[in-house]
Every structure is written in C-alpha cells, then in structure tokens.
C-alpha cells in the first residue's frame, strides 16, 4: 500500500507546485587514472539489469507494462552484448545465484544503486551537490567504491569488471500528450514521457566505481531492437575504450 501513498503525494506535489520543469541532465565520470584501451579483451560481468518500461498517465503516474518491459530487457541485453563486442570486450551474464550467494548479490545490487544514486545526486548535478564534491569535480576526482566484497559475487572470479544497468521508461499516454498540448497554450510546462537511466562499471577486485554515466533524458525506443541500440549507445556513452567511430560523434 505504501507505494500508493508515494504516488498520491507525488500527484499532490505535481498539482500543488505546478508541473515540474523539464531539465535534461546527463553526465559521465571516470575514476582518475582509469583507462581501458579499445580491444583490450576484458571480461565484463553484466548483472541483471533493472529495466522498467511503461506508460505515463495524463497526470504523470507510472503505468507499468509487462510486455514492453520484457521486449526492452531482451533488446537492451542484445544491444549491450553487441556494443561490448564491437569495442572488443567479452560480455558474461551473471549466473543465477542461490541461498547466501543470492543474498550477497542482492545486497550488492542495492549497494550499487545507493552509491551511484549518491554520486549522481551529490557530485553530478547542480542542486544538492556537496561542496567537497564540487571541489572533486574541479580536480577531476571521481572516488566512489562498493568495497572489495564485490570479489565474492557469483561469477566475479571469471571476470574483470562488473556492469550494472538501471533504466526506466514511461511513454506519454495519449491523454498526457493532449494535456501537454493544452498546457503549452496555458504556458505551463508539462513534460510528456520519462526516459532515464544510469550505468556503472565496477572493478571486481577493489570494488571501485570506475565509470558512471547518468542520463535523465535519453532517446531511442527500447521496445524496438534499433531503438534499444541507440539507447545502449547513450547509456554507455563515454564508456572507457569506446572511442570508436560509432556515429554519435561524442
């Protein structure tokens, strides 16, 4: 039931404060000194990506869609393997875990989410950025770690790096688009659709966060294979060792 409280207060917030302003935010960071040459043949362990795809109701509620989510998961995983193959890395999907191993894995999934969300909130984007992190940004320091416990994760002994992916898409419903149109006339900014995600690369020995990319306004329709390809390109933007001509000219 808690979820509905969160929802309703989100809606109250929306109505009370007026629709949020659309702010495109994206940023990438790499741990100082970390380099990965193209075609270095590293083995990358990909943890079960957290992917949610749905629609956005007129008022902005997330309406999950199982079919879209399934398609998107399939497409993103395929594009991901293709992307890494292109830059010369080997993708290994994390093995199914049981018992204590599964608990350890879940803890680390949550830990990664917490650490990367903190990095995004307190170092990446203006707003709640901490003074110490502002200083880090000036000095090009990106220093976050999950701790060496990651080396005990299932599948970690056969890989060099771990890749975590979070992705959420909410496609604007017809009602949302109509509302956006009318709101435009009323000069109220209403955003239709939400496409955000972040991805991080972790050293499976030290647990250090080597690379993190967050993008809160991505393109590409993940429900289609070619759209997912574009999305993976944006999720893995400036991925170490990906300075290949991939058409995006970043």
């Amino acid at each position: 039931m808690m979820r509905f409280f969160v929802l309703i207060f989100a809606v109250i917030g929306l109505i009370g404060a007026g629709p949020q302003s659309a702010s495109a935010q994206e940023k990438t960071a790499v741990q100082k000194g970390f380099e990965l040459a193209p075609n270095s043949g590293k083995r990358i362990l990909v943890f079960r990506p957290a992917i949610r795809v749905g629609a956005q109701s007129t008022a902005g509620l997330f309406e999950p869609n199982a079919d879209w989510t399934e398609e998107a998961t399939k497409n993103i995983q395929a594009s991901l393997a293709e992307f890494q193959e292109r830059i010369g890395n080997e993708v290994i999907n994390a093995p199914e875990a049981y018992g204590a191993e599964a608990q350890n894995l879940q803890e680390h999934m949550d830990l990664f989410a917490a650490v990367s969300r903190s990095a995004i909130k307190y170092q990446f984007f203006a707003g709640q950025r901490l003074p110490t992190k502002k200083k880090d940004n000036r000095e090009d320091i990106f220093d976050w770690s999950l701790g060496s416990g990651v080396s005990s994760l299932p599948g970690a002994d056969g890989a060099d790096y771990g890749l975590f992916i979070f992705n959420k898409d909410a496609y604007g419903s017809t009602g949302r688009k109509l509302l956006q149109g009318l709101a435009f006339l009323a000069r109220v900014p209403v955003k239709s659709g939400e496409h955000q995600g972040f991805a991080g690369l972790v050293d499976l020995r030290s647990g250090d966060l080597l690379w993190l990319n967050a993008d809160f306004a991505m393109g590409g329709d993940v429900r289609k294979p070619e759209g997912a390809q574009k999305r993976v390109g944006q999720l893995l933007e400036e991925f170490p060792g990906s300075d290949l001509p991939d058409g995006r000219g970043e």
Binding site: I15, G18, A50, A66
Partner: protein
C-alpha cells in the same frame, strides 16, 4: 466560469457515483464466496503491476530483513491456509519481516508481508488469523488494482482541471480547481477506507467459517487502542481519539473497526479455541528477540503495555528480563530500582539467563551499589565467559584476587 464549474461537476460524476458503499447491516460477516480457481492477472495494468510486484518479491526474497526460520514461516503460512483454505492460499507467499511495527501488507501478485511487530502484538492464533485473512481479502478482491485505477482517474481529472484553470487565468476557476482537488483526494482516501472495511468483512467471514474464535478480530484493535493510549499517557499526550477519521486516513478508525468486527462475529463461534498455546509455542524462540526490538523503540508506554499484556498468561523469565531492559534503558534513578527487581525476578525464573545478571549488575552499579553490582556482573561472566562485551564488563568487575 460557470461553464468551468459545469465541466468540473461532469468530471466528478463517475467518481461520486462509486463513492457510497452499502452500509454494514448484515447480522454476521458473510461466508466467503466459493473458490474460483487460481487467478491470473488480466489486462495491461494488472499484468504490469504483477510484474513490478514480482521484481520486488525477487529482491525481498534475498533481503536481510527477512526472517528465514523455516519453523516460524511454516507456522504463519499454515495459520493463513487453515483460515482461508489451502486451495486459496496457494496463490500467496508469506514473508516475515523483522521490523517492530504493527503491520502486514499484501501486494497485487500475492506477496504477503508480515512484520515481526504484528507477531509480538497478536496474542493467539485467532488474532493473527484475523489480520492475515484481512490481508488476503485485499488480494481476493484485487483492491490494489482498483486503488491504482482510482488514483489514476482521479489524478487525471485533477491534472486537466489545473491546466484548464491555468488557461482561463481567473480567480473563480482557480478556486473551483482547488475545491475539485480536495474532492478528488477526499474520495481517494474514502475509497481506500471502504476497501479496508470490505477486507475486514471478508477476513471476518473466513474467521467465522474457520475453527478459530472470530471475536479475536475485534480484540486485535481493542488491544492496539490500549497500547496507543498507554503510549500517549506516558508521554503526557491527550488520549488518542479512535473514533475520528482524518481526511488523509487510509484506514477506518480503530474504534469503528473493533465495533463492527465484534458485532459481525459469528455468536456461535464464541466458544471456539483461539489457539493461544499453539501460538506461544510456535513463537517461543523469537519472542525474546521481538521483545528486545520493541524495547529499543524507546516507546516506554507502548512497550510496558505489550509486556504486561503478554504477562497475562503468566510472567516468564523473558518477560521479566524485557521489562528490566525497558526500565534500565529509560534509566532514571527510580527506574534502576525497578529494573534491578525485574532482573532478579528473571534470574529467579531462569537461573541460567546470563543477560539477566548483566542487566542486574549494570543497574546496581549505576544506582551506586558497587559491590552488589560487581557480584552480579561476575555471575554474568561465569555464565557467558565469551560474551562480546566480556572485556568491558571485566573492567567494571575485576576478578576478586586482583581487586584485593
């Protein structure tokens, strides 16, 4: 402006048509409907939410807050199954979460979360069954999906109204918009309370048709009101008003729930067993842990109420010990006197309960009774020489040869 008012009324019409539920006038809660087979989600929304719930459940399964003890899990699941029927309950999974709050929840896909604070407060199998059957009622009636759909249509109307008010840019339109928003939020919570009443009724129906005493359902709420009153009184607050329903209340008032649950319980069921002995036996290993979690909440009135309520079946070493901890944690000089007495009772009831000597020793030391306290602490170290705090305690109570 009047045109806008008409529009807002028009938009509300489908909402208000659904707001009023038939009053509860049956003599007893109706018997549960016949089992229609295992339900599968239908439609985009329901299938989508079930998938979200599946993901959450996947994470929950490996969560450190979960109590994995098979014996306890089997017992709680069995209480649910015996109450709602084994055919029905096969669609749900029960998870026990170690968190000292009175709560249980049910998701659309049949994930039932039972919090340890609930297990501490229910005093017998029938009380536990009433809460589990209530949660199962939400699942059976698919309330979660209805809440989502209700919230979505309500918020859609509110979103249109706010934009339309923005277009018209006049004071009256804004005022109408705000009035409309209150109506929408009000009806959302009213729907939520109606769902709770329906689940209460359905849960009681299961209890009426089980072999447990259905009157226990009302006693859960009476007990909870007693606890809230005790908690408020120790804090010097006004006695809570259990009849009042706040605008944002998601559940009906506790008094109302206790009243209708007691009125609709099957009178013939009053003589039935409520399974207090089975319940105590099944929870025996966990009671000290749940009590400890509760004591650490620093809610003196509520904890004292719970301990005394559990002690109605006789004081045990664990209850005396928990009470000692409660008083020692509050730690006024007058509390230390009481705490020492409670620890002595605990040690009397179970002479091998090492922690009772620890508590006794620390209480006495703090109250200035040094040698007496050191004696108790030495007894603690004798009983539990490998305690994690053994080194610290040894500093407070050195071996006799050394100190002389």
């Amino acid at each position: 402006m009047s045109k806008f008012r008409q529009l807002s009324l028009l938009a509300l019409a489908p909402l208000s048509a659904l707001v009023f539920m038939p009053p509860l006038h049956a003599a007893t809660a109706p018997m549960p409907p016949p089992f229609e087979g295992v339900y599968q989600p239908q439609g985009v929304d329901e299938i989508g939410w079930w998938r979200e719930d599946d993901e959450d459940e996947r994470a929950l399964l490996n969560s450190p807050v979960l109590i994995h003890d098979e014996k306890l899990n089997n017992y709680v699941t069995d209480v649910l199954c015996r109450t709602v029927g084994y055919d029905r309950c096969s669609a749900t999974r029960v998870y026990i979460i170690r968190e000292p709050v009175f709560n249980a929840s049910m998701t659309m896909n049949g994930t039932m979360r039972v919090f340890s604070g609930l297990l501490l407060r229910t005093r017998n199998e029938a009380e536990l069954a009433s809460v589990l059957a209530h949660e199962f009622g939400h699942f059976e009636r698919r309330h979660g999906l209805q809440r989502f759909k209700g919230l979505r249509s309500g918020s859609d109307v509110a979103a249109w109204a706010s934009v339309l008010a923005g277009v018209s840019m006049n004071y009256g339109a804004h005022r109408s918009m705000h009035g409309l928003n209150y109506q929408i939020y009000g009806s959302y919570f009213r729907f939520s309370r109606d769902d709770e009443r329906e689940a209460d009724l359905l849960g009681l129906g299961y209890l009426n048709s089980s072999d447990l005493r259905p009157h226990a359902a009302a006693e859960v709420w009476e007990n909870l009101m007693g606890e809230a009153t005790a908690s408020a009184s120790i804090k010097g607050l006004k006695k809570p008003n259990f009849g009042r329903v706040a605008f944002f209340a998601s559940h009906p008032g506790n008094q109302e729930r206790a009243n209708y649950l007691s009125a609709l319980a099957l009178p013939d069921g009053a003589g039935r067993d409520d399974g207090a002995d089975r319940y105590r036996e099944a929870l025996a290993d966990w009671m000290p842990i749940f009590l400890d979690d509760q004591v650490k909440l620093n809610d003196f009135g509520a904890s004292e109420y719970i301990i005394e309520s559990l002690a109605q079946n006789g004081w045990t070493a664990e209850l005396w010990f928990a009470r000692g901890e409660l008083y020692r944690n509050r730690g006024h000089p007058r509390d230390l006197v009481n705490a020492a007495e409670f620890y002595r009772e605990a040690a009397f009831a179970d002479p091998d309960l090492a922690d009772a000597y620890r508590g006794l020793g620390l209480s006495l030391m703090k109250a200035g009774k040094r040698s007496e306290g050191q004696g108790a602490l030495r007894r603690y170290l004798e009983l539990n020489p490998d305690a994690s705090d053994a080194k610290m305690i040894r500093m407070m109570a050195p071996e006799l040869e050394v100190s002389e």
